[in-house]
């Protein structure tokens, strides 16, 4: 089982949230993963600080580093 951080990255990659116009609401990710709001907010802050995510207007998408990280799982 992947940890929550990896699951968020994978969901964003699969849903093609890889640029601002394809960004997803945090709410949608939360519903998808069925986890508490605070837990997901915490991980998103972490992912942003590590450079994997960008957040604009309450929506998130993967950065270039995030995309590479997501797909490296399968390479």
């Amino acid at each position: 089982m992947l940890d929550l951080e990896e699951r968020i990255i994978q969901i964003l990659a699969n849903l093609n949230a890889v640029r601002p116009e394809k960004a997803l609401e945090v709410e949608a990710i939360k519903d998808n993963l069925k986890v508490e709001n605070e837990a997901i907010r915490h991980i998103i802050r972490e992912l942003k600080s590590k450079g994997y995510l960008m957040e604009e207007k309450e929506k998130i998408y993967l950065t270039m580093t995030g995309i590479i990280r997501a797909f490296s799982y399968y390479s």
Binding site: E5, E6, N14, N16, I68, R69, S72, Y73
Partner: protein
């Protein structure tokens, strides 16, 4: 007038999208094929900042976006293949078709098979690694699917290209393929990239390495296949007088676990994680390191070892698969046992404690790279495969 052979090259990664080794391989090969007079069209997936159409060094690059959201990765792959097929068909219509399809790995196999049947042209596939070795088994449903697609691509392809003798043996053993269907063509690198001046002291200081300290370098994806956890454990076995620090370049799903291991075992001041770095920085680090360690558990070829050899840094590598073929123990590098921290530490110590030996193996390694590995040679061998498939030789 001689008509150019038109090649459709399918790959899920192409620079600047660099996930693993396929990206640089396809780039080096394609540019060399163009130099040989072939017309090469890359159809690949997009990446932020990269245009959907461009021509670099004569290679036509076409990028597609997987616009349709997918619930999981296997579905994403199926959708990606659909977009690759559609774009390839558009290009085929506009340029009057292709002569050959060259697909890279299982990820684009479905598209390549579909195009082969539509256009009625020959398919060549390069398999860069195999799922049963990557995953250790094919027991999971995902691995079973990948393994099955890999087999299917071997069935549909006129020739399978692999990068090492060990990959060829794996294919014969695992898929029972006839030997004559497989062609071994080594990977390569552009060693001219390493012919630059580097201020080693300045580079090392950027990573917290002082003049009296030794720099051990790891470059690779942080996945179980690359064996980075054994290198971290090896740090405990190194004699303290070596004064060595480890710099880990790369990222991957194991990064958090590895960071936890480093800090919980008291190595926080001796191990630094850099994350992904641009090529130019990686080259500077390679040229500034005292030793490059490639502790992989499975490595069909091991292009990072070749890069280390080209950069003139002594290489310590696991004695596995393709790495066993590139590295000749005690001649152009040092072999160590995979999954064995004490063996890895022994190899590092062997290099760091004897500067003359380190210099000698690095010199032999650089000569080997210059003589045996270059893209123009790889392109010649690949063109032979294309011509043979088309019945021209």
């Amino acid at each position: 007038m001689k008509v150019k052979m038109k090649v459709l090259m399918l790959t899920w990664e192409y620079p600047p999208r660099i996930i693993g080794g396929i990206s640089r391989h396809v780039e080096g090969l394609s540019e060399a094929l163009v130099r040989k007079g072939l017309e090469v069209h890359i159809v690949t997936t997009d990446f932020p900042g990269a245009p959907y159409e461009e021509n670099i060094k004569g290679v036509h690059i076409h990028r597609v976006s997987v616009e349709t959201p997918a619930p999981d990765f296997p579905t994403w792959v199926m959708l990606m293949n659909h977009y690759l097929t559609k774009r390839s068909a558009d290009i085929a219509n506009s340029i009057g078709g292709f002569d050959i399809i060259h697909a890279h790995d299982w990820l684009v196999a479905l598209s390549s098979i579909e195009i082969k049947h539509f256009l009625k042209i020959d398919l060549i596939t390069t398999l860069h690694s195999l799922e049963f070795k990557r995953a250790g088994s094919i027991s999971s449903p995902f691995s079973r699917m990948v393994d099955s697609i890999e087999w299917w691509s071997t069935y549909e392809s006129k020739t399978i290209i692999v990068c090492s003798g060990s990959m060829k043996r794996d294919l014969i053993y695992h898929f029972n393929l006839p030997e004559e269907k497989i062609r071994t063509i080594p990977n390569s690198i552009d060693d001219s990239k390493f012919d630059i001046f580097v201020d080693k002291s300045a580079v090392r200081s950027r990573y917290g390495i002082y003049d009296n300290e030794r720099l051990i370098l790891f470059i690779g994806r942080l996945t179980s296949q690359k064996g980075c956890e054994y290198l971290i454990k090896a740090m405990h076995h190194l004699p303290s007088h070596l004064n060595a620090k480890l710099v880990i370049v790369g990222d991957g799903y194991m990064k958090n676990d590895l960071e936890r291991e480093v800090f919980s075992s008291g190595l926080g001041l001796r191990v630094k994680f850099t994350g992904f770095l641009p090529d130019s920085e990686v080259i500077q680090l390679l040229k500034s390191a005292d030793v490059l360690v490639v502790p992989s558990i499975y490595e069909p070829f091991g292009i990072v070892a070749l890069e280390g050899m080209a950069a003139g840094v002594p290489v310590v590598a696991s004695n596995v698969d393709g790495l066993s073929e590139i590295i000749k123990h005690d001649y152009n590098g040092v072999h160590v046992y995979p999954r064995d921290p004490s063996s890895i530490a022994w190899g590092i110590n062997r290099v760091l404690s004897d500067p003359n030996y380190a210099q000698w193996i690095a010199k032999n390694a650089k000569s080997d790279v210059n003589e045996k590995y270059n893209w123009d040679f790889v392109a010649s061998l690949t063109t032979d495969v294309y011509k043979k498939a088309k019945g021209e030789s």
